[in-house]
Symmetry: C3
Subunit: 339 residues, 3 copies
């Protein structure tokens, strides 16, 4: 059970309500008048809890679970303990996510502008915006309805933020336009000028960076991540992208919709990722490359060339994954021969 | 000598006092009524300074040092310059650390709550707590005696912090419980929700992250490091851990006591480290792994499988260190043959 | 054209003014009484725009460009479209940078100390200093003329900052001295104590870190980067260095003048870089090493030994670049043989 110091739980919800919320189907013969009061993993759930079974590896845990109700694929329904209410779904984890979000809702912005915040008189805040103590909102900023600016965040001159966003504590935004329903985590830095200068022995001369950062809807940018603004064109993050903590995104980079970028990744200037690209932790991508739709970059890979749509690459310099595995095996054989 | 703009020096201390503070033994024949007024390296120490000799490589520097007093292992005592007061210790660096801490004490919290800070009326602050300008302390927070909250730090709703801690400038804490005597450096982000969502072409749906971050006693978390809260279980950092700057620790990760994690490391979700594990800089550890007590992960290693207690691994993917060295040698031979 | 929400454009400038600003020479026969009102890339520039041609790869774009004026090397002047005003320069990009900086000047500090900032009475601020809301300036700080301290930045006790600097939103400085004309980006952490302790099973005992961070003139430190203060000696960043985002620099590290350090790099304690060293993204350099003048460390390299002046290294562990390329080729041949 989630710690009440930090989490507020809604519910209980009836079986019928859960079906509606999750879009899953109640299995035949299950009583619809029961209710569940919390969510929990299979191993710790009790008869008041709703759980999910999504990974064959946990079949034993499913068969032994005391959960009162559970999301499951139809093919495994027969393995359920007797008495468990079953919700049938092709994607039990997503159905569970929807239900869990009903129990534990992200709190709405409370509409209070703290008198300890600084809001420039020229800023335009829509209804329901919450601005916490110490936040600073500079001239010309526009903030959409129901957005929450957490404590000590800084929203620089002219920035536009959409509806229903959350800007984390101490984050700093400048030179950017952010869509609706985005979460910018604590300490993220968006819109500072990128690493652009004319190098030379007489000194590295800064070149004005005249683009912006354009962030779509439903985007998450992780804690302490950094996204530089464009040098002339914009840096663009597509709808639905998920960027983890401590990620660096250089100037002019473009991410198509639904990309997932894991922690500690660096993407160099002017590289373009297609849609639904996944970049594993600590991977690096050189500048001016094209990474195709649905490509997967393995953790710690070092990408030095374009990657085709759907391709999976690993290693540094990165090669097709199959090749990387063979290299690993060949290296390990090589040293065995030498012994 | 440390710059007086930034450091306040106590002392001088008599030889007898240094012996007591450090636990080291004064060598026979050394005058106990002398005193030392500062600490310094062997090379720059003068007759008023206390130094240490711990690394054979610096034997010449030791023999030539002008330090008035020095911590040393008994076996090297005979190599000291004449007139040097010797403190004998099996661990001269640790003995030195104790003495240096007496000269340069971390300043105590001054018990002042700045009227430029925001402290929610429901927060409970023990005696002697210092809260600097711009810090924000939200509802229900509890802070132990003598803890210092530096400028512009944000302590989120319900967070509990023990006694004698230092929370650095601009750090942000939420959903966490922190023990005594911890140092959370500037810009660290602790307790934000982890990278958890149901992926899919119809969008990546966020799954509520219902755990906390539990940090033991005497833990350090480096500048701009990030520790995500648990997804259901907690993320746990054991007593005495040292986490360097810019480290990412994913949800549900557990570190046993005394782990040392160097800068730029990423540890993926649900991985468990035993006691006294050392992780070198820029190493990455994949999710759901077990790293045994006393294991050592080399810098830049990419750990993809469990590591046994005491094992040393390197490379990406990581292999036993001996094997990694052999791979390196084999590769270098391979290209020589081809020439 | 740069977005007017975020950028203020000066000008127009006459052809003669541009020649003077940039130091480039107007090609024979070009009318000096014309003017240009903006800068733009070759592809999007119109007849009112000033552009540059620096990379042979874009020769077609140059020949087809509608730019009214362009910086170019003399050898390519004959390839210009007719009617284009040509500025001849040996370094067209640098000449362009100078012109672009005239159109888009970094705004001067406005001399306003916000009443929402906290400035300790003992701090000394020179004329024209701007301190934004939420910034905290502690006791004994000295700030030079025309320096801008952005919102929620924290300048710790005794810190000295030169003239004409910009300290970004939410940055935190302590135990450091900073020269003139430096830019410290948002969220950078400078001067915290480094990762120094006496390790041991009875706990890792912190050793007081008694040095400072000394930063020269015209230095940039990227967003969320961290620079630890020296342990006894100082950590030193030479004039004209450019440090990108999310870089970690350990205690006692020294960078000579003009070094360029790309994002996500880690440099371990006591390592010394010469002048004009370039360190590629995500590279790591072990502690106590010497990296010679003009050396180049490739992205993701892991440097475990000294690097000579002018040497180029890559791989992990890093070897001379030529050798690293051969290793890569040899590995790829090896697996082809095995198939």
């Amino acid at each position: 059970m989630a710690d009440g110091r930090f989490f507020e739980r809604k519910g209980p919800f009836s079986i019928a309500e859960i079906a509606e919320i999750s879009g899953a189907m109640i299995a035949d013969g299950c009583p619809e008048n029961l209710s569940v009061s919390d969510v929990a993993p299979l191993q710790t759930a009790d008869e008041n809890c709703l759980s999910f079974f999504d990974n064959r590896k946990y079949l034993d845990a499913f068969a032994a679970s005391k959960a009162g109700a559970c999301f499951v694929r139809e093919e495994f329904a027969s393995r359920a303990p007797s008495g468990m209410v079953l919700f049938l779904s092709d994607d039990p984890y997503r159905a569970y996510a929807k239900a869990a979000r009903a129990f534990y809702q992200a709190p709405d912005a409370n509409g209070v502008i703290s008198d300890r915040a600084f809001v420039d008189p020229s800023a335009v805040l829509a209804t329901g915006v919450q601005v916490d103590p110490g936040a600073v909102i500079e001239a010309g900023v526009e903030i959409g309805a129901g957005t929450h600016i957490a404590a000590n965040a800084v929203i620089g001159r002219g920035v536009v933020i959409g509806d229903g966003c959350h800007i984390g504590a101490g984050a700093a935004l400048s030179h950017c336009m952010i869509g609706n329903l985005c979460i910018i985590y604590s300490g993220a830095r968006i819109g500072q000028d990128g690493f652009g200068f004319a190098m030379g022995a007489q000194g590295h001369l800064k070149v004005p960076q005249l683009g912006r950062v354009i962030i779509g809807h439903d985007v998450e940018v992780g804690a302490n991540s950094t996204i530089d603004r464009g040098a002339g064109p914009d840096t663009v993050i597509g709808n639905g992208c998920r960027i983890d903590n401590l990620v660096q995104i250089g100037h002019n980079v473009e991410l198509g919709m639904g990309c997932v970028v894991v922690a500690n990744v660096g993407i160099s200037g002017s590289t373009k990722l297609g849609r639904f690209v996944v970049v594993g932790g600590q991977a690096g991508i050189a500048g001016h490359l094209e990474i195709g739709d649905g490509a997967r970059i393995s953790a710690q890979a070092g990408v030095m060339r374009n990657v085709k749509a759907g391709e999976v690459v690993g290693g540094s310099p990165a090669v097709p994954m199959m090749e990387f595995h063979k290299q690993t095996v060949a290296l390990s054989r090589l040293i065995r021969k030498k012994q």
